[in-house]
Symmetry: C2
Subunit: 172 residues, 2 copies
């Protein structure tokens, strides 16, 4: 992150969780370009939510789903991390009116915490006086004949020491 | 991967390791847009190569650098994985004429193995008769007043059962 900030410039970080809405208005699925049938969207989040629900059903005491080994392949490690980050939201997902609507908000909340640690690590490598603006939200994918959407949920500006200079979330 | 293949269509997967060449011709560093001084490029690979060299110096018996815990944060897990994937190339890196030139080739070789497992996992989810073309190489970043380059190193076509239909690498 820090290595790509221009001399005298600052940094804008944009992140988002992801959800699909199909042509019939169903949330959590979307027809990809050139496809008649929808796919789960976001597939990773939906698979993680199913894993979290299964853990909660069994007593919900786990704090991590990663196998007790140091040689987890990177591909599996990604999905384990998504499950681990979603575990604290098990109750919120189970009691939601519409789990597929609640899911991208839960993933966004988990991402927001993760992005704070990314920005903390990144700002320590900043040369000069760059600030960091962080915009977070939900990316909403729709069928190919419609525009996709980005729903902004937070917009904050930090200095390189981590002090919040401005919270522009109220403008969203 | 499979979920985004259009009905009746096929799939092109492009991957690359990454290296920078700066304005003076130095390999392993590049001046990013708007910056006078270069940054390590690829920073992750170079950090991993340093970790691999340190392990080799100590005897080189490790097969993984990941901590013996199931709760490695995802950010650290990424870099641990890069180091782990690069460990088999310790000797090749140490004996290279120019380590910074050899590094992106080693990372590419490691990626090629990883991509084989990605494609194997992905093709099992293919609906219909889609083929998968896989193009691998090295992404070469240069200063902003020059074009970047992509050095193709392999180009293979597989069917959904994993059989290699064509090896177009000879054309590169």
């Amino acid at each position: 992150m820090a290595g790509h900030i221009p001399d005298g410039g600052s940094c804008l970080v944009v992140y988002a969780s992801n959800v699909g809405v199909d042509s019939k208005g169903n949330v959590g699925t979307v027809e990809s370009s050139g496809r008649t049938n929808g796919i789960p969207c976001c597939g990773s989040s939906i698979a993680a939510a199913a894993a979290v629900a299964a853990i909660a059903k069994k007593g919900g005491t786990k704090t991590s789903t990663a196998p007790a080994t140091t040689t987890v392949p990177l591909l599996d490690a990604h999905q384990h991390s998504v499950v681990d980050m979603l575990l604290p939201y098990a109750d919120r997902l189970e009691t939601a009116n519409d789990k597929m609507v609640e899911l991208p908000y839960c993933v966004y909340d988990a991402q927001k915490k993760m992005m704070a640690s990314v920005v903390t690590a990144g700002r320590r490598a900043i040369v000069g006086t760059a600030n960091i603006a962080v915009l977070g939200g939900i990316q909403i994918n729709t069928p190919e004949d419609q525009s996709d959407y980005y729903l902004p949920l937070s917009f904050e500006v930090f200095n390189k020491k981590g002090r919040k200079l401005e919270d522009l979330t109220v403008l969203l």
